[in-house]
């Protein structure tokens, strides 16, 4: 499953960050705390269509757009 599809307030573990060789994208995600094996949880969805989403990752809460959340694969 991908992060974009994760139901709110359901903890899950990141399996892979699929930035498809885009180094900049991968580095940005990692700098914000995304990493394989880290627990994530969708906390909020924005008004006006549920995009972006607010994700709890480690000690931070990060707002990302769904298109980017599609790149984050979770363990089943």
């Amino acid at each position: 499953m991908r992060l974009a599809a994760l139901a709110p307030r359901t903890p899950a573990i990141i399996a892979a960050i699929g930035c498809c060789g885009d180094e900049r994208c991968a580095m940005r995600m990692r700098e914000m705390g995304f990493d394989e094996g880290v627990e994530v949880q969708v906390l909020h969805r924005a008004p006006f269509g549920g995009d972006p989403i607010a994700v709890r990752v480690g000690g931070s809460t990060v707002a990302i757009r769904r298109a980017q959340a599609e790149l984050i694969e979770l363990t089943a």
Partner: protein, 629 residues
């Protein structure tokens, strides 16, 4: 900024400088609060040459009696810059920025409640080999969340001294100074090489930081319960946008309401001063210059200082409390519709205070075309310099009727003007993104920091810096242009006994007479055309200019009453519409030139805003005439 004769010898002999330490850390680590707590009010705020990234330096007295310089570097996630301000941080730390000293030591500021993420940056910094101390900041909040830290283990694993600090309570500041003192003389150790595979390198640091964080943290954190509870309300799909609208509406109502008493008091003082001068000085050019030029001109602007400060106070509180990025989160979807991201929302909100810091704040936007679009629309956000203009015209033409409870008609009109500006900005962004700024959508990723009580000291310090900047402007640009206008509007004098209007006969009257042809189709009279000439320098100058023009017109009524009788309602409304769009600010154009490295974009900005202002004022004027107002 140091003057040249003072700066030159110091630049020639680096030994004459006190040692320099840099505060470095992730955004939201509480760096600036720590900087304020360490240096107090003795700060110098300026810009790095060539870029508009704010440069903040101050002094710190060490326990050994030495005075050192501290620089507060822009928050960054790593030494791999993603935006112009993060590039400044990297360049200063690495000593790559010419004309800037490389710091001899680093104070790495980390948020104790977000240890793993912030330690990664510390590990990256540590490889540089500079002497370094770690400020484990906001330990009080971490303790409230139920977190404890084993400092001995943390010090050991990092190989760096760690001081727990609470910047707002001044906890740990003396210890920080004591540890910093011996570090400043130390020679840096050689920098360690990083893995050339940058993603793998980052991942390794990430893992190491997470392992250290796990090893030193005792207890399970409640994960910021208060923040999550607040977010459940403020980010709620329905309540969130309503709350945002309510906050902004309250802000604009308060600007009028809270500032009224001090503004009235200032007005009375300036009036009294003017009368005293008029009574004391012999009548003649000097009395006219001081009373009509300086007191009426500068006074008309300075009385708005309370309103501007109230507005800035709101924006600072929204920023420091952590709400501002929530607003960006809520607005991202709507911003995406016009081709921008929520990230652009923060510079745009800052532009409500002033477009100059707003445009400077766009430096956090990565994508160049997004950034340029945001810069170009920033002047459409109603800045505080428009407030004096709006306030005068609203007071003159909109009745002070109460609509409901504390909500008055004047406040609603003001709010509508702000909304018009916002709508214009969104429309402009959409057009720009669809034409000359086409590009693929960018990444949008933003940390939502925990909510915090704004620290009064930080707010007051910022307000003081703003007030000083405003008064300096009033004393230079505004004073200069009002005196110049007074001269242009006073000379040459019509021949005695000719019965000609002195204003119409003056140089300014003739310039206004020419411009009148340009502005007459949109309902502007000669006095307005005249006031717009100096008003091109800065928006609020137009009020001062109207004050001067109508005072010289020989009328001793207050400006509001004077405008009410001299202008028709459609003209008043057209003037308001003009001001929503008009590009009347030299500082904005100058900062745009600096940010875009050339005259092309400021010229474009001026042209499109001028056209928009002309059309909007014309439509308003003829619409109001047609409606029989």
């Amino acid at each position: 900024m140091a003057s040249l004769p003072e700066a030159l010898p110091r630049a020639l002999s680096p030994l004459a400088f006190p040692p320099l330490a840099a505060l470095v850390g992730n955004p939201n680590a509480g760096k600036t609060s720590l900087f304020n707590a360490l240096t107090g009010a003795r700060q110098k705020v300026g810009n790095y040459p060539g870029v508009t990234v704010e440069r903040k330096t101050g002094h710190l007295c060490l326990p050994d009696g030495r005075m050192i310089d501290i620089v507060d570097l822009p928050g960054a996630y790593s030494l791999e810059p993603r935006s112009p301000d993060e590039a400044v941080t990297r360049d200063i730390i690495l000593g790559l920025r010419s004309g800037e000293r490389r710091p001899q030591a680093i104070i790495a500021v980390i948020d104790a409640t977000n240890l793993a993420n912030h330690l990664r940056f510390v590990l990256e910094l540590k490889r540089l080999g500079l002497p370094m101390v770690v400020a484990l900041n906001m330990v009080d909040l971490a303790e409230r969340d139920g977190l404890r830290f084993d400092l001995a283990v943390l010090t050991d694993r990092l190989g760096l001294a760690v001081v727990p600090t609470v910047a707002v309570r001044r906890r740990g500041l003396a210890e920080l100074g004591a540890i910093l003192a011996p570090l400043l003389g130390r020679t840096p150790s050689p920098a360690l090489p990083a893995n050339p595979d940058r993603v793998a390198d980052l991942r390794a640091l990430q893992r190491e930081a997470a392992a250290i964080a796990r090893a030193v943290t005792i207890g399970e954190g409640g994960a910021a319960r208060a923040t999550r509870a607040l977010d459940r309300v403020l980010l709620h799909p329905l309540v969130g946008p309503v709350a945002l609208a309510a906050i902004l509406f309250t802000m604009f109502q308060t600007v009028f309401w809270a500032a009224k008493t001090p503004a009235d008091w200032l007005t009375a003082r300036f009036d009294a001063l003017g009368q005293w001068l008029a009574a004391t000085l012999p009548p003649g050019p000097l009395a006219s210059l001081l009373v009509d030029g300086v007191i009426h001109g500068v006074g008309a602007v300075v009385v708005f200082l309370p309103q501007i400060l109230v507005l800035f106070a709101f924006i600072l509180v929204l920023e420091q409390s952590g709400y501002m990025v929530r607003a960006a989160f809520i607005m991202d979807r709507l911003m995406a519709r016009v081709g921008l991201s929520g990230r652009a929302f923060i510079p745009l909100i800052s532009s409500f205070a002033c477009a100059v810091p707003g445009i400077m704040a766009t430096r956090t936007i990565e994508e160049p075309r997004d950034r340029l679009t945001t810069i170009l629309i920033a002047p459409l956000m109603t800045c505080s310099a428009r407030l004096p203009v709006y306030a005068i015209i609203i007071a003159a033409f909109i009745p002070a009727r109460t609509l409901w409870g504390p909500i008055g008609l004047q406040g609603v009109v003001l709010f509508a003007l702000y909304l018009t500006g916002v709508a214009g900005a969104l429309l402009a962004a959409w057009v720009l993104r669809a034409t000359i700024m086409k590009g693929k959508p960018q990444l949008f990723m933003m940390e939502l920091p925990k909510y915090q009580w704004p620290e009064p000291r930080d707010i007051l310090l910022s307000l003081w810096q703003r007030a000083r900047a405003f008064l300096e402007r009033a004393g230079t640009i505004i004073l200069g242009s009002t005196v110049a206008l007074w001269f242009l509007a006073s000379y040459p004098k019509p021949p005695v006994g000719s019965g000609l209007n002195p204003l119409a006969y003056s140089i300014a009257g003739r310039i206004g007479g020419v411009l009148e042809h340009l502005f007459a189709p949109i309902g502007f009279n000669r006095e307005i055309s005249l006031a717009l000439v100096p008003g091109m320098a800065a928006r609020e100058v137009a009020v001062a200019a109207l004050g001067t023009v109508y005072s010289l017109g020989g009328d001793e009524h207050g400006l509001i009453a004077r405008l009410h009788s001299a202008w028709s309602l459609p003209t008043g409304l057209a003037f308001l519409a003009w001001y929503v769009f008009a590009p009347q600010c030299i500082s904005t154009l100058a900062v745009t030139r600096r940010e875009t490295n050339g005259w092309k974009w400021p010229a474009f900005m001026f042209a499109y805003l001028f056209a928009a202002a002309y059309v909007a004022a014309g439509l308003t004027y003829w619409g109001a005439r047609w409606a029989g107002l």
